[in-house]
Symmetry: C2
Subunit: 494 residues, 2 copies
Amino acid sequence: MLARYNRGAFPTPPMTENLENQSQDDLETHLAQVQSLLARMRLVEELVHRQGGPRQDLVENLVHKQNLAELQRKLDQLHPADVAYILEALPLDERLLVWDLVKAERDGEILLEVSDSVRESLIQTMDKAELLAAAESLDTDEIADIAADLPRDVIEELLTTLDAQKRALLQSALAYPEDTVGALMDFEMVTIRADVTLEVALRYLRRLGELPDQLDKLFVVDRDERLIGVLPLKRLLTTDPEASVAAVMVEDVVQFHPEDEAQEAAQAFERYDLVMAPVVDAVGRLIGRLTIDAVVDYIRESADADMLSMAGLKEEEDLFSTVWRAAKNRWMWLAINLATAFVASRVIGAFEGSIEKLAALAALMPIIAGIGGNSGNQTITLIIRGLALGHITPSNARRLVLKEIGVALLNGLVWGSAVGVFAWLLYDNPALGGVMALAMLLNLLVAALAGIFIPMTLERVKRDPAIGSSVLLTFVTDSMGFFIFLGLATLLLL
Amino acid sequence: MLARYNRGAFPTPPMTENLENQSQDDLETHLAQVQSLLARMRLVEELVHRQGGPRQDLVENLVHKQNLAELQRKLDQLHPADVAYILEALPLDERLLVWDLVKAERDGEILLEVSDSVRESLIQTMDKAELLAAAESLDTDEIADIAADLPRDVIEELLTTLDAQKRALLQSALAYPEDTVGALMDFEMVTIRADVTLEVALRYLRRLGELPDQLDKLFVVDRDERLIGVLPLKRLLTTDPEASVAAVMVEDVVQFHPEDEAQEAAQAFERYDLVMAPVVDAVGRLIGRLTIDAVVDYIRESADADMLSMAGLKEEEDLFSTVWRAAKNRWMWLAINLATAFVASRVIGAFEGSIEKLAALAALMPIIAGIGGNSGNQTITLIIRGLALGHITPSNARRLVLKEIGVALLNGLVWGSAVGVFAWLLYDNPALGGVMALAMLLNLLVAALAGIFIPMTLERVKRDPAIGSSVLLTFVTDSMGFFIFLGLATLLLL
């Protein structure tokens, strides 16, 4: 065999160069058109419900059918990614109406493009036969991407309909954990042998007739499918066709193993400006490829997930999900926050005697806690970022601690004096001002240390420092802020 | 002229396929090696300083030179992006030592790769001649990328050394605002005429001998340089060479204008899985191209910028910047937070009489304010994301408001009851529990409405809702939380 063109043997999606629309403005126009068609349909329905009568019914039916046909025509012209965008922006009832109008053969591609939560809402309305048909229109790696949302019996039936090679591919793709290269890779690659000439390679490509998207190099493999190099298309195009693949190929190649972390692969793609890279097993046999579009989707999704989890949302939320689902998505973090707020409240409770004597303490204490929390969040954000980029190592951690302590001292002097003077003037009580300034300085130091050690400890015990760091920090700065300020006031003022 | 190969006429960076290292682990190994070499050098220096004497000096010099040579060898083997990574992770003194060892001809590429703040620290140590040499080793679009950090006289001298065409390119690249397609595009493209055959195109590419990175299509232009289509390399490779470019090219092409927002172009790249796209002027003349690597860098940088600004950092901060610079980077937001905390403090101050009578109010009020802030932040995060993705439109905003009010009511009943019972049991005061529950419910409603209307208002007045939304929200939920709780308590309990 000279070479192998492995497409996972499923049909390919259409050429992405052929698009009707391109800019966000266009997209929003399409969305607005769909929305106004839907509004028109609602209006007609309402009119009929109000008036009734058999002739009205006839007219309404006619108008309704016209509107549906117009909507369907509109949808048929749109790229699957754009249909997905429109589905995301529609409330559930309208979303399902539009989903019904989408041609069945496009279901698979569109399910791939929508977000997890919206995909769930669409899959719920499909029966087993529809789901099977949709899945069968996809490549194996794409089926693996949506498999988590498919009912178990659909997956099982799907496995029985695939031939042995594709079944093995799908099962291996399903076996890799979510954040690994294995979960992102696909199987659409073109391989070639090292001992042929470029002329032969060119003729071979022409015989294939079509190439996968995002393909910027051929993989050069030996008799045992082991990767021995890559042949960039630009070298193939610019080198004398008489040369052999072996003479032109690049041997030192950025490559990945399926169990590598997706995060590290993404950093390598960014760092080395890659478009695609081979994925090999432990003995160097080629098993798939990773492409920039999968990496970009991963980067976007993990940035989104970080942002959502930092705000205390369990997972991505369908903008139009039911109140009940939305509330459940937010409860865990609210419960945790409530628990930490209770603790902080008990810290204050311990000083109720002092507060009764000097109610000004109650008015001033949130300033100490709040600024501590803000300042600690600045530190924690820099540390989380430094950890993610690999810039923080055991040998430079000491310097970081010194720097953050320095910043906390400087801020403590500047802002501590400011709030001290404020408290002094407001309550005409210089001692209260002094306690305020000292408490601010101390809580900023606590915030700096917590801002460094919380994420570094989470990282050391192999947990994602982006998740939960902030809640822990606020807990520390609140409780300690109240304790330091009320404690100092009780000791020095009362 | 059959076709044009425009490289901005500057030399190209080396092939990115040819790399020594690939994974984050490898990178961290390199960093550790560099760090241990630096540590060894410090040790030798310290020994000599302690012992002194002329012979010692000789030995030290020898060892020092050996170490330097070893370090330099190490650096020479690394990809510019990897040297950049090491520079980012080193404290200032060691960073500058390493920077001195980097071969001058690689300065330009490495300056491109480091972050803005680290680039500043490196440029400060370079004289005008070094900066000119570094800049001249780059493409015009790359010079534009670092121009903001170059001294004005270097830019001016640079402009005089460039020929007319390149000067015009650089000036136009410098003219586009940071977040536009014009600022991200480059000028490395290959153009071709529609009336030639693929055979001629193939021969032409072979004559060029080298192609730019990330090139997956040729641009087809007419006599006036107007873009009339694109010829994907994969079509060029798989179609009969006798066919004409006109017959094979794709005419309906995703294309951008230099003044388009980078954000929208990035979404189009993600949505349509693009590797590269043409940039044209108002009359359709080709002026540059946008590539996926520039888009990925933009996505990463803007996600980082969002994260930093949400945490209240003015800009990206060098991990090892001086205490003074770091403090200045954080002051603006701390000052704003302090101002809002003062207002909240005065709200409490207005109820000092009530607190004196019932100190339990002081202990409970942070719970109301805190949970309101957390809940509002969940809403605001979903809204900011929906706005960024274009999912929120005037016609669906009403539904969103209803959903968030529903979630707030549900949460208010659930969590309000919980804190109400907590307060009742703790203080053996059922009326206090009732006030607590009611205040929680009301503040969650305030939080939901603020969480929707703050980002939507910022968006409507054309400001980035990601910046400042959170501070405003916390201000509202704190002040209103204190006001509602203490106000209700004063009315109903005292």
